[in-house]
Structure formats: structure tokens, C-alpha cells
């Protein structure tokens, strides 16, 4: 069954990501930190009292020019029962998020969600600005697409589509080791093409697919490793992960997502 294969791929991915995270325990030695003695005394002295102590890709904080940040992880979502009914397809997607500082307040964003037989890539820009105190904000926009090839068992289908999104985020630096980000986004579907065998169906309508709200924590995970974990509530009438189910409902459906990413 296709589901079994996808499930295995997902689990292998999860385990690989975990194992990758674990192997960092014996890293190459770094130059001694000038704050080492402070560590030893059980206190932590930071070089800058306002900057986050942890790396971030979601938190709307300025990133220096040329600096890269990336996380690799997984996203879990439940299959909507209106579409899949009694069959539950819960295949995690690999999730690579990249942030590159272009100027102090402008950054290039990239996100690749991959399940191998179907993948989604979004590239965009985000502009950050301080709000007040430990609150920061950002606005961003992205453009991207999805592609899927499902030629297994009873399926001889392919599809791709382009989409765009606009988002606004507010971040709160709860502590240097915990960054909380709340983000709202709206998705536009620009073009979708699917094919079964030789028969092709195009959808050229520019549609407001739906809305999403995300809460993310970026924090220390273990050792010196950091992680981003979050929850995303997506309320949309098109979700690329379920394109092959040919949902025909003209109504938004709720997709909860839980994701976890390890900083590279």
C-alpha cells in the first residue's frame, strides 16, 4: 500500500533527523569561551543583553547581512475526515527552513516540505522591525509551488501548482533561551494542474485558499542543540499534501499541524 510506504519514508526521515541531532554530542573543540568561569559558577553572562541567545528562523528579529540560519525537521498533520473518511493518512513531511540575512532588516526565507512523492517549496522575503521592549514584528511574502507524482498501485496521477502567501508575525523574547512567535498568514492559489493518465485538468483561478495561524517556540533543546517546535492551525480549501485525493469541496477545511525542527 502506498500509505505504508509513505509512512515508512516518514519514520525513516524522523529517525534520521533524530539521529543526526544526537550525533552532535562530540563536536569539534571550540576556542574556550571567555564566559566559561561564569558558566562554572552556574550563572550565564551574555555578550549582549538584548539579542536572542538562541538561533531563530521564525522569530522576527533582524538577522545580520550574509548570516544563514536553517532548521531541518518534520511536520505532522492529520488527514481531514471529510476527504479521507475512515482512512487516516498521517504521513509526516520533512521540513527544511532557511533564513538568510540580506540587509539588517530584510531576509530571504525559504521552506521546503518534502515527502518525496510530493513536495512543496516556498521562497520569500521578510522585513523585520522592533515593536516595543521585547516584542518584534515582521511582514513577509512568498511565492512557490508544489509538485506531486503518484504512480503506484491504482494511481497514475501527476500534479503541480503555484501558490503565494503573505504573512505577519509578532515575536516575544520570553527569555534569551525562549523565543515565542505568533504568525498569521493567508494563502493564494494561483494555478493548479493535475493529470490522470493523459487527461489533464487545469485550475487557473486565483483563489484565496485559506488562512493559517502559527505559534512557534525556538529554544534550547538539549546540550547545545536548539529546536523550533510549533503548532499551526490551517483553515483552507486546498492543501497540497492532499492534492491526490481530489477534494471537490468548496469550503475551508481545518488542518492542524505540529512541527519540530532542529537548527543546523
Amino acid at each position: 500500500m502506498i500509505h505504508t510506504r509513505l509512512l515508512i519514508i516518514g519514520l525513516v526521515l524522523l529517525c534520521t533527523a533524530s539521529a543526526w541531532g544526537q550525533q552532535q554530542r562530540n563536536r569539534t573543540k571550540r576556542t574556550p569561551s571567555p564566559y566559561r568561569r561564569a558558566y562554572q559558577k552556574g550563572v550565564f553572562v551574555a555578550p549582549d543583553s538584548t539579542s536572542p541567545q538562541v538561533p531563530f528562523v521564525h522569530f522576527p528579529y533582524p538577522l545580520g547581512k550574509g548570516i544563514n540560519r536553517a532548521t531541518l525537521g518534520v511536520t505532522f498533520t492529520t488527514s481531514p475526515r471529510d476527504i479521507t473518511e475512515q482512512t487516516q493518512i498521517n504521513v509526516p513531511a520533512g521540513d527544511l527552513i532557511v533564513l538568510r540575512g540580506l540587509t539588517k532588516n530584510l531576509a530571504l526565507t525559504g521552506q521546503l516540505k518534502f515527502q518525496f512523492v510530493q513536495n512543496n517549496l516556498m521562497v520569500g522575503l521578510r522585513r523585520t522591525f522592533p515593536i516595543k521592549g521585547r516584542f518584534y514584528g515582521s511582514v513577509g511574502a512568498g511565492l512557490g509551488g508544489w509538485v506531486g507524482v503518484l504512480k503506484l498501485a491504482d494511481f497514475n496521477t501527476t500534479g503541480f501548482g503555484t501558490m503565494a502567501n503573505v504573512d505577519a508575525a509578532v515575536g516575544f523574547r520570553s527569555s534569551r533561551d525562549l523565543l515565542v512567535t505568533f504568525r498569521l498568514e493567508t494563502d493564494l492559489g494561483l494555478f493548479n494542474r493535475t493529470a490522470v493518465g493523459q487527461t489533464v485538468s487545469d485550475d487557473r483561478r486565483i483563489l484565496n485558499n485559506g488562512y493559517g495561524a502559527t505559534v512557534t517556540l525556538e529554544q534550547a533543546f538539549f546540550g547545545r542543540r536548539h529546536a523550533a517546535i510549533g503548532f499551526r492551525a490551517l483553515y483552507t480549501n486546498f492543501n497540497w499534501q492532499f492534492w491526490s485525493l481530489y477534494d471537490t469541496f468548496d469550503r475551508n477545511i481545518f488542518y492542524p499541524e505540529v512541527f519540530m525542527g532542529f537548527f543546523l
Binding site: 473518511e85 475512515q86 505559534v215 481530489y246 471537490t248 469541496f249 468548496d250
Partner: protein, 436 residues
Amino acid sequence: MRSVPVRFLPLLMLVASAAYIGEGCRTKYEEAVVIPQNLNAGLNVAGAKLLFSQTRKACEGVYSVSDGADVFGSEIAGKWSYVVKNGTDTTYHFSLFCEPRATYFVLEGRQVADSIIFIGYWRRLVNADVGTARFVVQRASGAKALLAPDCCQDLKPGDVVLNGLYGNGEGERKYPLTLSFNRKLNPTPFQIIAHRSGGRTSDLLPASENSVEIIRLAPELGATGVEFDIRQTKDGVPILYHDDQLNLRQTQKSGLIGPVENYTYKQLSSLVRLVNGEQIPTLEEGLTAVIDDTPLQTVWMDSKLIQDMPLIREIQKKYIAKAAAQGRKVSIYIGLPTETTLNQFEALDDHLTTPSLCELDTSIARRINAQVWAPRFTLGDPVESAKVMRAAGLKVFVWTLDVPDFIRQFIDKGSLDGILTNYSPVVAYYHYVQKP
């Protein structure tokens, strides 16, 4: 000090995640769409008469839309159906099928003085949009011809005009919708087979999937056939039920859980009700409804989990004979979706003469002398295979096709004898408006 709410944000986030995981969807679209009820008032006026059968037949056709084309498309196909209630009470419905968003109208017609009035509701099957509509065919707009005793020789485009108004929800009918007769319906034989005995519960229909009530509703939605999902209870009674578990997607909360096969028919009929309150029907009740209450021509009995194939065969024989006795042409096929059911079927002594529908490979369909070969639509339009199978005398149905673009192209290629769909109005529209 950090504030307490912020400190607990992570926990709140986890609570939110936990609350929504598993919830899936169905947060808003929980209930069936309520069809406007205050319709009969407009029909039960003094002097209103039922329409003659020849008048009804003459009304069927493809209509061009002048006012309202932006909402309902440029063409609409109109077709009559009937439903029998309580064994004797026959009601005729004039259904209109539109292209955009699986929209359909279900109307009743009366002759009032020298005009014809149609009143009913419309709905979009893909969402919860619903409303009412009223049409009048005045004497000069075609009622004279339609009501004539010798009705009706070939109507020409524009001979009949339905002047109407429609409204949204229970609101006032204030938007114009004008339909002008254009041509007759596509006469090519084609089966529009409604999934789950008429339609899915998730399409928010007023009757539950696999109920007797949805079978009676199927013709109004454009279906010419239905697909049943058959399982057997612990005591062997064949029933119509899709999922492998009793669950809230299909039934009201009763405390009974687990496979339907674990329960006796007496337990299910006493304690379990489908989501819209109906009883889980037996296969025989379903077939009785098809033959006695509807004009449906095809029954695809999808064998979900069968222990006693000879019993299913006996029931099939009985109802084929019953239909023949009533002069009805009803094809009842035993659907074979898996190797297991195929083996059970091949164990029947008379399987080579038993009407069957094979979802498996073409070679298997020919080996068991199936009358229908039914591939899954996700394999693409089976043009070449269909040619071979049709040349061998088999019919070809595909399942379960709901995407309008694919439906149009599959019909246009003309390689199929029928389509199994959740959206009968869409298949009906594309089939009937196609020019032969």
C-alpha cells in the same frame, strides 16, 4: 519577573495542539444543509393541476440561460424523475443541472389556468449554498404547446421559456433567471451512478449515505443508478454500510462501537441510527426502494465484506425477477473490488451467468464473464482498454469521479458507459448537454 501568562504560553500551546489533534475537520459543516421548506404553499393554489406525462416529457431538454447565466452557467439541463412514498404517493420532480459548483434545482410543476408553474429549491453540492426558485411558463411562452393534448412534436429553440426568480437561503426570490428551450437532451445511453446509494454524508445532504431515504433522493440529483456498500451482520443479514466500524461519521452516538459485523441485525436496528436518524437498511430494503420507489436503472452492489456470497446471489436473483415482473429494466450487479470477493464469487456454481461488475484486471473481468468492467479513475481514461472490453460485450464504468474537468473530458471521449460519482448533478449536466 516574567509574567505568568507568558510563562505558560508553551503549555497553552500544547493544550491547543492537543485539543485540535485528531479533531480533523468538520468544525463548522457538521449538519446537513437545511432545504427550504415553505415551497408547497406556492403549488397548492386553487385550480392547480398535475402535469400530463407528455407535458413533463416535453419539458425535458437543454435550456439556454439568459438572465442568471453568471451564477448558473450558460446552459442548464432539465430532466424529470419520480419518487414513490408510502407505496402509492408518487411525486414528480423536475431537476435542473448546472455546470458551476455542482448546482442543481429540484422543482415541482403544476398547471395553473393556462400557465405552468414550477417551484422548488436549488443547492450547490460542493458547499452549503441553498435557495428557492419559481418559474412560470406563460401561455405565449410555450405553455399553450406544452399543455396541448397532442403535445409535443419537435420543439424548436425558444419555443418554451421559463421566466423565473430565485433567492438565496429562505430569502425573498428577487433575482431573475430565464431559461429558454434550446434542444433535446443527449439521448445516448449512459449510466450516472450515485456513490453510497445516492450521495455522501459529507456533502451535507438531507439523508444519510447508504439509507433508503438517500436512494429515494438519488434520481432528483440526476442519478440513473446507485452503488450500495454491502456488509453482513453477525447473524448474516446483508446491510448497507460503508465503513469498517460503527462511527460518528455515519451514525449517531449510541455507545456501540467496533465493526458492524460484530453486531446482530436486531441489535443494530434497535439501537443504531444513521446520522440523519434513519435505520441502517438491509440490502433487501435498499433493492425494494430502488425498484418500487424510483426510476433507477442500475444497482452496483459493492461487496465490502461478505461472508455468504450465495445469499447475495439469491437476493440478486429475487430482485431481478421482481423488477422484471413490474416491467422495470433494472440491472443489478454484484461488485467485486478485491481478490477475496472474487474468490467467493467464483465459488458460485452459476457465476458465469451472474451479472457482475469487476473492479480488477480486464483479464479477470473476461474470465468471470462480468457484465461490467470498472477501473478506478486515477488510472486515467481507459480509452484503449475500454474499446477492447466494449467490443467483447462488456460495459465500462469508472469510479469515483468528482472533478468536473475530468468528468467533461471522460464523457467527451465517449469511451465509457457510465460514471460512479458523488456529484450526480455534474455528471448529469455534462452528459445531457453533450451534442450527440
